[in-house]
Symmetry: C2
Subunit: 271 residues, 2 copies
């Protein structure tokens, strides 16, 4: 299995941390600058981390694509372009490989199977820049929005925030994954509806462990309590992990090949 996961969002929303939490190992280092004299104006490059994980006895070959935080500049016009270009470049490479890979059963697949989109937990709604970026990305890849650092929201605020975001997604006609599928039977449709009502997943990430009931778990410790990333009453990290790596892994790969890649290929042929 080759699975390519991209993370997109403003800097400081815990993207690098979440990658390390998802795959339980320090795969990426954050783009965050700790040197104040470092020029902020240069746009860092998109970084790809490759690794292997074993999941349910299945060996998974992962490409994690960490994008530099967009929206940090005063003027963020077209800040989505490097990200869109990266997605297109992988699809273009795949077309070339398909044409030249006559003996090779499966060409190397670097196509982006899933884009995790990080939403700042403002409590209000999506920002104009988020909507601008989402409009472009949802057209060309499977986009799964998540609420970053959801530990800064109370459960009431979280429920309210999700409602607002879901309404905005509907209002702007953003095609968020998973997509409706007429071929689904009743059970599959029910599962999809349940997932759709949970998205955006409210996540918390941590590259540190804390002691909870004598067990070492990924978490964040503060003066007023300990957040356990794996505790389903604390956040939806486990739901996200399950969704990405277990229940919807195959569908994310298939939809990329049959929907997004096909659309790209058609445009290339007619162009």
């Amino acid at each position: 299995f080759q699975f390519n996961l991209m993370v997109v969002g403003q800097s400081g929303l815990g993207k690098s941390t979440l990658i390390n939490t998802l795959f339980a190992s320090p795969l990426v280092t954050s783009y965050g600058r700790t040197n104040p004299t470092e020029a902020v104006e240069r746009t860092p490059e998109i970084k790809v981390e490759r690794c292997y994980i074993q999941e349910n006895g299945v060996k998974l070959k992962l490409n994690i694509i960490d994008t530099p935080g967009y929206g940090d500049q005063v003027n963020n016009e077209k800040c989505w372009e490097p990200i869109v270009k990266y997605i297109y470049d992988q699809q273009a490479s795949y077309i070339r490989r398909e044409l030249t890979a006559s003996r090779e059963k499966y060409p190397v697949d670097t196509r982006v199977h899933c884009v995790l989109f990080f939403i700042q937990p403002t409590g209000h709604g999506l920002k104009p820049i988020d909507i601008a970026v989402l409009k472009r990305l949802t057209e060309i890849a499977n986009v799964v929005p998540v609420i970053a650092k959801s530990d800064s929201l109370t459960l009431d605020e979280r429920a309210q925030f999700k409602q607002t975001i879901q309404a905005e997604i509907a209002h702007h006609n953003l095609k968020i994954y998973p997509y409706p599928n007429d071929e689904y039977d009743e059970d599959e449709r029910a599962l999809n509806d349940r997932i759709k009502s949970q998205i955006p997943f409210a996540i918390v990430g941590s590259d540190r462990t804390v002691l909870v009931n004598g067990r070492e778990v990924r978490g964040r410790k503060n003066r007023w309590g300990v957040i356990n990333v794996e505790d389903e009453t604390h956040c939806e990290f486990s739901s996200l992990r399950n969704f990405l790596i277990s229940t919807h892994l195959q569908d994310l790969i298939d939809t990329t090949a049959h929907t997004h890649y096909e659309a790209f290929r058609k445009r290339q042929l007619t162009a």
Copy 2:
């Protein structure tokens, strides 16, 4: 006493909530939209709330100036202009009133005595847009930066974040209040140094109360614990409130009159 306090920062950082927490009453309603179909592009107006509070037996007449979140658009060029204009307009009004108020002992004073600048708790440092806004505001008013929603930082992250911000403030030569003063004696200088090492204050705000040891306090309740806004081991809200309304109230008013207003007046005379 007339005290005019302005809050500045991206939307969703808890500005409105902090105002209500500082003055223990629902003075302002948030600019946050809850209607997804509301156009985000229009720039809301600057709002001024007037109220009275009693503090240490002294009656304080307050103007709270809530500015709409800046930096929400894709292109935020000059998003600071409405804020700068507001500050200048008050100083210009004061010049006019000083000239016409011959009998009136003290003209009505709407000059901005303090700008609370809200920093998003990214954990990395200031964003380019923050630096752009701070550069303009620190030249014309007393600016006191605070770390918004500091409950999303662990104590270690908070200490690290403060260090980075303080280094960036020094690197960009931003004149943050309180200012060094050669006329200070050793005690006053020591107090100022202590305050300077604490700034930006790491705050948490809440317009809700929670039960802590049988007492109703301003706080935030979550699955893993209860944050008490007034608890000094939880956040620096009390330090900020003390600083603004007790120890530095007079100096904030005086510095505005003798430093910022004087500079403005000089420019008007030579213009």
